[in-house]
Symmetry: C2
Subunit: 503 residues, 2 copies
């Protein structure tokens, strides 16, 4: 009688399939291992290669996609097993996921203790949950909202499931924007101002998930951002701050996994959002934090009341972790800055830092307001003096010099390249600009190719309350390919309510 | 400027990928259509071929799995679009799924009206929901249990989303077993008895999802079961009953989709179970229904209290739809019959119908008890006389003659083929058999190859309370391949608690 392990070796094949964090394995439906193990399609299986392992979702295939004796793997499974083509892997039944019984208890109405969140979040961060199981967890936390204690537990669990950065300073400032507003790329401005004034701000930012640009995408136009923890420490040691991509540092990795499922379901809750924002900041070692919260009909936070409730929750949890936080609520009725898309936003940032006369004033104002909060929170400026000090540091060129030094420390300042194809969108009627739909504007920039095509996007020419004549350009579309330009124009033509003009 | 439709034609390719009901499309990540449309991985896209369409989940691939200009499709997407190799399909953004906003409302604590369930269930049945979205719906219905009205609404919605069978009779009897017990294959016995006595019983059954055999798998050993509605009507017209596979008739198709996700999550609720069971029976046109409910530690229903609560719910909803229902609670502490696996269960059925002296008495008793309930419910037997009449119909050969006629009408009576490989599992100690773990026994039969290998499974030699000597066979394992036999034996050796023997 053969030992079963010998039978269940399979030849690994890299499918190059992007399933995000979920590990997936494809086996021929007639594969002896499927029959012998009684593996069910959509079941969870344990894959082992040497000392590495991963729990994967099984799909069965017919036809010649996967040969018998072969295991075709998604990229997440391939990476986590650290394979090279032709390696052998073993497949078996995983132990039941103990923490899923805690999720089930939450589904059936029980409140979870702190160590329960630890177990769940650790398993999620290690890729042991299927996307379906994550959807159940998130839905349960929305159907019976997380209690105040549960939000604390979830936040702590998310911090503990990832890396933590440690800085040898008493004060480490940080900033987060509760997104939903295109443009609004204040981070490089804020970092430059406060580090020019001697504060420490080791900033990590994300790439776009569903937006036309994340801060990391925009910053990458100007300098390398994929810094590993060592490079990040070196840059911060040297310049007091950095503007890096968070993905290379693995802060609160469970958050990245949860966010994708939340977006797919379009289900989000206050508790989840608080844990998501703050777990990253706690893990990054922040002691003083400013939260940018644009409020508007088509922004993420839609009313003053919602902003106040969310602010209270954020500050409560931040304080529990020893972080001094302040929320700056602001106008979210239209984009901040003119550009939407990595290159176009980068140009706005440069024009503000370089004190160009045509620099977008709203972006400059928002940047100095946020920097001002951090200067006051940290005691670098007296109460009421923060904005003035920030503005001075911008106008005297200190912020621009610091930004260049940071870029050089990160690997070199780069020159943004303008897109070769452009076409204006013209006003169909004369009147006053009453309304801008931020979500449709973001979609327009994405259809033009952003963020993959870095130079794609749009430049906004008009602001709310401007008087506009029919035929006047409302914005300029930019694309790297004529097809994408045509496609975005087509969308703009079909949508009559991106810009609301009243006679 | 080209119209966008022209750009978004892709060449369809059949991947042969079994994703159950979820339509999935794989595109090269650098495919122009991905960039132009701003399609996000895991996003939902609308696929169109002629007049057919389907909403699919998008995965992006790198490498040479999918060529540019090609759309590789899962089997569900391929079938629903009715494609042949090389056909062109179009891809675009689907309209937002309106009913998902109802699901979100349910997540956030609102009760849903009847027409909301109609919209949700219709979209699920038409494959418009991703598996993630279904997981959110099910979790929301578990986190805030369905109200009594909601269970009625969900049941009605599930009936309306599929086909309905109509029978030109006043009385149409049916039977359902609230599973979890291996063996217990009473359906062919019950149908044969009651139709021999003139009742109408057009029975549809399912194939195994996670068990070693479904009734349809077992019955298929003895006769064809994949009857379309016309064939089913012909057989019932002729013989008064049939034992068919429900999958060919599309009764309550949303149920099949929901059940797979429930199983994957291991989340089930009373309301969902009631709607699942009864929607199929209502759609099948039943007027009188017996529900078999084995209760035991390792059965689906684990306590008398749970059985009573579930029974009340089932009867309440059945009555609301004009069905006279009775729940027969029974012993679920051990399998019923000796065989587990399609062929071995079929042999048990034949031995009962043929009145063999060694026929398993528990199976005969359970079959006649269930038939007796239907005979009394329908008025065919006086109160308290049902079991006697059923037993008489079995012993006088009437049921066996009827069974043969039904099999012939369905396409021919078949001879079960015994598995070529077998090996006993021996008692390790002497003593009394105190406990049988139904779940592990089922797993053992699956590891031996059931239900795909029809002759695989096991035959149980001992019953609870039997006195056993060490070395005596507890059961016989059957397999169609030596590797599978070895694998099952290995599992049996590793598990010490499938059989609990006390000295």
């Amino acid at each position: 009688m053969n030992p079963p392990a010998a039978k269940h070796q399979l030849r690994a094949r890299r499918l190059g399939l992007d399933t995000h964090a979920e590990a997936v394995i494809f086996l021929d439906h007639d594969s002896p291992v499927c029959r012998a193990e009684g593996f069910a399609a959509h079941g969870r299986v344990l894959l082992t290669a040497g000392k590495r392992f991963v729990i994967a979702t099984l799909y069965k295939t017919m036809g010649d996609l996967v040969a018998k004796g072969e295991a075709a793997l998604s990229e997440a499974a391939w990476q986590r097993l650290g394979l090279t083509e032709g390696d052998k892997i073993e497949i078996s039944h995983p132990d039941p996921l103990a923490s899923m019984s805690l999720v089930r208890a939450r589904v059936y109405g029980h409140t979870l203790a702190s160590n329960s969140f630890d177990a769940i979040v650790r398993d999620i961060a290690q890729g042991r949950y299927s996307n379906l199981e994550i959807a159940a967890f998130l839905t349960a936390c929305a159907a019976k909202p997380l209690s105040s204690d549960e939000v604390l537990s979830l936040t702590r669990a998310m911090v503990n499931a990832g890396e933590r950065l440690a800085w040898d300073r008493d004060i480490v400032v940080d900033k987060h924007s509760v997104g939903g507003l295109p443009g609004n790329r204040t981070t490089p401005i804020v970092v430059s101002i406060v580090t020019a004034l001697g504060l420490t701000m080791p900033k990590t930012s994300s790439r776009a998930i569903t937006s036309p640009a994340g801060t990391a995408d925009t910053m990458e136009v100007l300098a390398p951002v994929a810094l590993d923890p060592e490079a990040m420490h070196r840059v911060v040691e040297q310049e007091g701050g950095c503007i890096a991509w968070g993905g290379a540092v693995r802060l609160s990795p469970a958050d990245d996994i949860l966010i994708r499922i939340e977006r797919a379901l379009d289900i989000d809750t206050e508790g989840q959002m608080i844990a998501s924002v703050l777990s990253k900041k706690i893990a990054a070692g922040a002691t003083h934090l400013v939260l940018d919260m644009p409020v508007g009909e088509t922004a993420k936070v839609r009313s003053q009341a919602a902003a106040e409730a969310l602010s209270r929750g954020l500050i409560h949890v931040a304080e529990a972790f020893g972080i001094k936080a302040h929320v700056l609520v602001g106008d979210g009725s239209q984009p901040i800055g003119r550009g939407i898309g990595p290159v176009l936003e980068a140009l706005d940032i440069l024009s503000v830092l370089q004190n160009k006369p045509d620099a977008p004033d709203d972006l400059r104002q928002r940047g100095t307001a946020l920097a001002g909060v951090l200067l006051e929170l940290s005691g670098r400026a007296a109460a009421g003096q923060g904005v003035e000090l920030a503005t001075e540091t911008l106008t005297n060129g200190g912020a621009w010099r610091k930004f260049q030094r940071i870029c050089i420390a990160q690997g070199g300042l780069r020159e943004p390249k303008i897109a070769p194809y452009r076409e204006p969108i013209l006003a169909r009627a004369s009147g006053r600009l009453m309304r801008i739909d931020n979500r449709k504007l973001a979609k327009l920039a994405k259809l033009a190719g952003a963020p993959e095509a870095k130079a794609a996007g749009l430049e906004l020419y008009q602001r709310l309350d401007d008087e506009i004549r029919a035929g006047e350009p409302l914005c300029m579309l930019y694309a790297e390919a004529p097809g994408e330009l045509a496609y975005a124009l087509n969308y703009a033509e079909a949508q009559s309510d991106i810009f609301g003009i009243s006679a």
